[in-house]
Every structure is written in C-alpha cells, then in structure tokens.
C-alpha cells in the first residue's frame, strides 16, 4: 500500500514542481508579459538597430570571478548631433586579459535616428585595452565634447573626445589608470570649481589564478566565488587639476579609510546643500555615504541608516540610484541586492537620515526572488513620478545545479510608481514575450528624441537588450540639455526644481547611478497632461540660479548657464 501511495506522491510532487516552475517563469516574465496586459516597451533586435554587440566574458572554465560581474554601457552624444549614441564595454580573453580577438572590443555605435545605429568603434579608436567593466561619461576638459572613462580589471582608461569623431587615450597623462579591480565610476564636481572630478569604486582584491576552489569540489562543480572569500578594496577619488591631469586625492579626502566591496556609485545632493554627495553600493560589506562638507567628505553611511538593512545586515549591494520617490523634495535611494534580499528603498527622512521602506512601498515582493544589478529611476510614462527598472541575473552561471528554482538568466523588472508606492508592471507590449537575460548594466535615455525614455540592459556573455518606449498612455514631457559655464560644462550637479500641477519636484543633472553604466545626461521631466510648465528653477553648481517660466511641453531645450535664455533656436521639438 505504501508503494503505490508514494509513487502517486511523486507524480504529484513533480507535477507540482513543474507547475511551480511554470508559475515562476510566468511570474518572472509575468512581470513583463502578464496575461496580454500591454507593457510600454518594444524590444528591438540587432537586425533592426544594427547594435550587433555581444559581451564576451572570456570564460575558460577556471571560474575567475571577473567573468561574471560585467559589464556596462553608456548613453551619450559623442558627436553633438543631438542624438544619443551608445557605448558598450567588453571583456577580454582570460587569463591573458588581452583584446586581441576583435570580438572582445569595446564598441561605439553612432545613432542615425529612428533606432538605427552604425558601428564607429574603429574610426573613433575606442576598442579599449584589457578586461573592461564599466563606463562613466563627462566632459572633463569642458571642451564641449563628452569624454569616456572605462573601468576594468587591472587598469582603467580615460578617452578624451577630440570632437572630430575620434578619441585619444590620455590615461597616462591624466594619471587616472588606477589599479586593482575597478567597477563603476562617475564624473562629478565635488569642489564646485567648474571641473569634473572622478570617483571610482573598486570591488575585491583579486588576482587571476589564485582564488580558492568555490562550489562543490566533491562533484567537480567549480563555481564562481562570492566576495566574502577576498579582501575588500578602497575607492579612488581623482581631483581634476584643469590642465588635463588629475590628482589622486583618495587619501587626502579620507576615502581610503573605508574598505568595502564597492560596485555601484551614485552622485546626488542628499541634503540640498548644493554639494554633491557620494553613495556607494557594496556587496556584503556596508554601503557608504560620503557627505560632502564644502568640498571635503565625511562618511556617514552607518548613522544615516543606509549602510545596512534595517536589521543591521550587510546585503549584496550592486546597483544604486536616487530620486525623489514621494515628492517631498528629498532624494530617496534604491539599491539592488541579492536574491532573498530584494531591492532596498531608503526613504530620505531629512537630516541625512534614512529608513528602508521597500516592503511597505511595494518594492520588496516583486524583486525578492532575483539578483538585482543595474537599476534606474525614470518616468517611463511621463506621469511625473519616478518609476523604476531593474536588471537582474544570477552571479552563478550554474546556480540551477544548486537551486532547482533559480536560474542564471532572470527578468528585467519594471515597477510603476503611484503616489510613492510601487507595483510590478508589464515590460513589453505588442505581444512580445519577455526573455530572461543575465542582466547587469542598465542605462536610460531618450534614444529617438520622442520625449519618452528608452532603456538599454547589458547582459553577461550576451547581447544587450534594447527597449524602445512605446507607452500608449504616456503624457507630455520636456528634455533639458544643460550647458554649464562657469559650472562644469555638463551642468552635472545642477538641481532642478519643477513647479507644476504635480507640486514641487526635484531632479538633478548627472549621468551616474545604476551599475557600471552611464545614462543620458539630459534631464527628462514628465508632465502628464500638462502642455506647459509654470516654472522651473535651476540651481547650478556655480551658484547661478535661473528661473524658466512657461516652457512648452514636448520640446528639447538647451539651457546655457551664462545666458539662461530660452530662444527659439534653443529648442527642438520632440517627435512624439
């Protein structure tokens, strides 16, 4: 009697597991597909876009940890033609760390409009060296052309944009090669001298071929190690000297006193004092918050409440971003974490105090099952509130050996913000079915200048996911392109106050955040049904204050710090 009963049990069991797995798949994708509910994005393939980049991690079976962490991308307009271009960071052969095979080349794609891109890598001279990880964008020499800083394992590269479609490697002259395992980076003007400085996160202290055997040795399952096996690293802070060189001020500013497994970095003025603060997401060590006190830093991650979970646990911080989620005039912070941890949402309570409210605000359950990497707040429906997208993918490519209900590839999660509370939203429309990918980097930008924000998700050992925003119900918007002077030419750090029917919203110009990636530096303002913005205040890093009144919606405005005037020539209609 026991026999047949048990065999029935087993049939039940496997049926149940299969159903569950199916349910998980549907739920995972269901965040994106959800029973014919239309999502705002269309996924475009390389045949349509010309973006034939494939990230290669160079894995050769030894399970070097660098293979599973990359890589990032950037959305930026390298040729000032008004169309955001794309840059992708690539790996290299392991263990040589060489890019001899062209398939390891970093890639630059020029935007031809209408989501058509052409590869200009070789002409631009941005193939890169070594094993790449992340990228930061900024006009460090204020010449009007965006430069690139590419991080990697061993050393980093500063590529100066000559303005003629080519870049030159000025790393040695600039003194920003760094060392160790660099991850995310960001340009920002921490001392408000009008020159962009540079912050770089570094992960663990790691050497190829010297790591322990991680995984299940008895079964011969060698897997990637987790960071706990290695010593943590320090950040790098470079001060821009204004003559094409930088000074390493990491020690001078006291940043080397903090050793963490640094991954994502976000620059944001958290207390509204006009000085940009530094946020660092850290993997199984505490997250850091460097409060900028008039050009010098004090680390206050622990007392601020963002270093750990509310329960005092160091989580696996990966990607990071900040936005005013609940329209209280203060930027809040989101950090992606490991599976069974969920995204953290540190709500800014003022006085540089934060409390993780991810659960009550609906972020925990939709993100709990996934290993989050890139994430970015952005208003995908132009409704006036920052929504959230998260790229996810496990760090173990063989996780299904250890956990039957977990996969390497995971969903891209879209979360809709309604009055400061988030809920999972479908990702794709037009009957497209969302694929799971091994998501890493995530960058947001308006790639076709239609006033709605598109997304690029990079994947580990795969092609990027290109998502065109086709939200049917989207509202009006405007884009602001800032040109600073005397502030840094990118206007990074400019605080934007929007006074409109939504209330008073704050935004900040910059490209940092997410994971290893750099987003469109133009400021996007969703307006909902409004066709005119009553008032926008700009607080430039130099101290300049500008008031813009009655801007008409659905235009890209170029705002110059010096003149501040919005002339007919300074606006371009968005192609809604």
């Amino acid at each position: 009697m026991a026999g047949p009963r048990t065999s029935v049990n087993f049939i039940d069991y496997w049926s149940w597991v299969l159903c569950l797995l199916a349910a998980v798949c549907v739920a995972g994708a269901g965040i994106s597909v959800a029973q014919k509910e239309e999502g705002p994005f269309i996924e475009l393939d390389a045949g349509k876009t010309g973006i034939d980049f494939v990230y290669r991690n160079g894995a050769a079976g030894v399970k070097e940890m660098i293979e599973t962490m990359g890589s990032g991308c950037a959305i930026f307009d390298f040729d000032n033609d008004g169309r955001p271009d794309l840059f992708f960071v690539n790996g290299a052969s392991v263990p040589s760390l060489q890019k001899k095979d062209p398939s390891f080349s970093n890639r630059l794609f020029r935007n031809l409009g209408d989501f058509r891109f052409v590869d200009v890598t070789n002409k631009a001279g941005v193939q890169g060296k070594g094993y790449g990880m992340g990228v930061a964008v900024g006009d460090y020499d204020n010449d009007g052309f965006e430069d690139l800083y590419v991080t990697g394992f061993g050393s980093n590269q500063l590529l100066r944009n000559r303005g003629d479609g080519t870049f030159e490697d000025v790393t040695a002259k600039a003194g920003v090669a760094g060392s160790g395992w660099s991850m995310s980076a960001a340009f920002f003007d921490y001392d408000r001298d009008g020159l962009l400085d540079l912050i770089v996160t570094r992960y663990v202290q790691y050497s190829l071929g010297t790591g322990p055997y991680c995984g299940d040795a008895a079964r011969g399952w060698r897997s990637y190690c987790l960071p706990d096996q290695f010593a943590p690293s320090t950040l790098l802070l470079y001060h821009n000297n204004g003559d094409g060189t930088f000074s390493d001020v990491t020690h001078q500013e006291g940043l080397d006193r903090f050793r963490v497994n640094g991954l994502g970095v976000r620059i944001v003025d958290l207390d509204g004092d006009g000085w940009p603060d530094i946020l660092v997401a850290s993997d199984r060590t505490r997250n850091l918050l460097f409060h900028n006190k008039r050009g010098h830093f004090e680390e206050i991650g622990v007392p601020s409440g963002i270093a750990y979970s509310n329960d005092g646990v160091a989580r696996a911080g990966m990607g990071i971003d900040a936005a005013d989620v609940n329209h209280d005039g203060r930027p809040d912070i989101a950090i992606t974490n490991f599976e069974s941890e969920g995204v953290a949402l540190y709500m800014n309570q003022g006085s540089l105090l934060f409390n993780d409210e991810a659960g009550p605000r609906g972020l925990l359950e939709p993100t709990f099952g996934w290993v989050g990497f890139g994430l970015r707040f952005f208003d995908y429906e132009n409704g006036g509130a920052p929504d959230l997208m998260m790229a996810s993918g496990h760090v173990l490519d063989d996780i299904d050996r250890y956990r039957h209900d977990m996969t390497w590839a995971q969903p891209i999660v879209l979360l809709h913000n309604s009055n400061g509370r988030f809920s999972a939203a479908p990702l794709l429309g037009s009957d497209q079915e969302a694929k799971k990918v091994v998501g890493r980097g995530l960058a947001i930008g308006d790639l076709n200048n239609d006033g709605s924000l598109d997304a690029i998700v990079t994947t580990n050992n795969g092609p990027p996911v290109v998502l065109r925003n086709e939200a049917a119900q989207r509202g009006h918007s405007i884009l602001l392109r800032l040109i600073g002077g005397p502030s840094n030419r990118d206007g990074f750090g400019t605080r934007i106050e929007v006074h409109d029917a939504v209330g008073v919203r704050i935004l900040e110009a910059g490209a940092s955040g997410s994971y290893l990636s750099s987003s469109d530096p133009r400021v996007h303002i969703g307006l909902g049904a409004q066709t005119r913005v009553p008032e926008i205040m700009l607080y430039w890093p130099s101290g300049t204050i500008q008031r813009l009144r009655g801007l008409e919606s659905d235009y890209l405005y170029t705002i110059r710090e010096k003149s501040g005037l919005v002339t007919p020539e300074s606006r371009v209609p968005l192609r809604r």
Partner: protein, 309 residues
Amino acid sequence: MQALVLSYIVMLLLPITATQDSTTSGSSCSKTALPLYQHRHYDAAERELEHCLRLDPKDPSSHELLGLVLDAAGTREQAGAHLREALTLANQNADYRFNLAMFLASTDQIEEANRIAQPLLVSQPGPDTYMLIGYLRLRQRQEREAAFWFQKAVDAAPGRANAWYRLGFAHHSLGEFSAAVICYRKTLELEPQHFFARLQLGKVLLLQGDYGGARDQLIEATRIQPGYSAAWRYLSEAQFSSGERQAALKSAREAVSQDSSDPRNHHQLGMVLEKAGDEPAAAAEFQTMEDLRVRMHNGTSSPVDPREY
C-alpha cells in the same frame, strides 16, 4: 553551543515521540535504558547501553538508542557512528532511518541526510517524513520544494502547529509575505505560545509596513521568550516606526543586554539613538557594532538564526 542550537532545531522539527517509538521494538536491554534517556540521565543510559552492546554487539536498538543518548549528551561523532550502525543492522527500519536523517540534518550533513531520508517517502509517508524532507529542502535553499512538502504535512496533519509554522517560513523565504502571514496566524491559532511564529509574524508585518501589528506580535514574543535578543530588536524597530520612541529605545537596550555580541543589536540601538539626536551615544554603539563585525572576519551576521528554521 552549536550542538545545543542544532538539538533545538531537531526538537522544533519533530516531537520526540518518533525516537520513543523507534525503541519500543528494541531489545529488552535497551528498553531498560529508555527511561534513563527520557529523564536525561545520559551517563547512566550510556553505561546501560554499553553494557547491552557488550552482551549483543549487533543489537540495532541498542546502537540506535546509544546514538540518541550520545547526541543528546553532545558527543556527536560517536552518536553518528551508532545511528549509522543501527541502520546498517536493520536497514528496513524506518524509525532508525528517520532518526539518522534527523541527526544528519541537525549536524549540517544535509546531502547525506537527504539520501538517507528519501526512502522514507516510500516506507513511512506521512507528516513527519514530509516535515523532514521539507526541512532538508529549506536547508538546501530549495524553498519552493520545501513549501510543497510543508503543504503536504499541513494537509496530512492540519492540527500540527509546527507544520504551519514551517510552511509560513518557506513562504517567508520566498518573499510571499501574505501567504506567510496566513500560515503564521494559523500556527498561533493552534499554539498561541509558539514563540517563533510570533517572532516571524512580527517580522513579516514589519516588512509590510503594519508597524502596530508587528509591535503587538513582538511584544507577545518578548513575553514568551524574554531572553531572545532578536525579538527585542525587531520590537524596537516596530515601536520606532509606530512613533513610540522611548519604548523603542528601551527595547533596543534590552536587545543589547540580552546579547551584546550581536552587532545587529548595537545597530538598532545606534539607529534609535541617532534618530533621537543622541549622536555621541549612537556613535559608541556603531563603533561597537563595527568592532564586532571585524571580529567576525568582517563578515555579516547571518540574517537567519538557525533556530528559526
């Protein structure tokens, strides 16, 4: 301490009757030792069973009971050897198999425990086996499958509070917080003094933003087990979020006084002090927290106390 914790896990997992049942069919010699074991006279029981094994070295019931006695007395290596020998001598005995699997589970030998336990689904299907298999799946981080087995245990024995608790714990681990709340509440219906159900329910309600509900559960948890520091820590968080700052401070201090070696307790006390504006006192707590973490190899406190599985 570790042995004590793991024994506690086993006690939570199943009622002790399974071990008693397993010995009822044993030799008359081993039956003499059973009351000694039951009354925790482990030395006497051990002497009696060694005497039995001198008389009959191949008596599986003596090996089995001696294994249980040695396990309870903390002599785990020898315990395992005797439990294994009992099963070798009586391979079809489901109780021996069950007890060995339990022992292996409690000593973190999860893979072997799983191998030993699997045939029980054929020979002894029922809530005890489902609970054991579910527990092993939880330890293997196969929470989805764990939930399946705990659901079967609940279906087979809906009056068993621990089955509901574990089902709740599996849902909780999967991020299915609403389902976890239902299971924890059911546990408490059946066993209002179930400390871990109170604790976990409080934790989930905190995550859901029901601070008042969390506070009420955690107050009750601290009443049931006032020596469990995590309950005070979570209570402090719930009280603070409910606007009860003085009570939050008191609870955070109690958490530290119950276990000053847990950096999380210092973190909570530090946060309450920081938010109350007492920055020097907060800084001292944060420093203690960081010092403790460094001593723990710069690692993290495990978010899950093994007792809570």
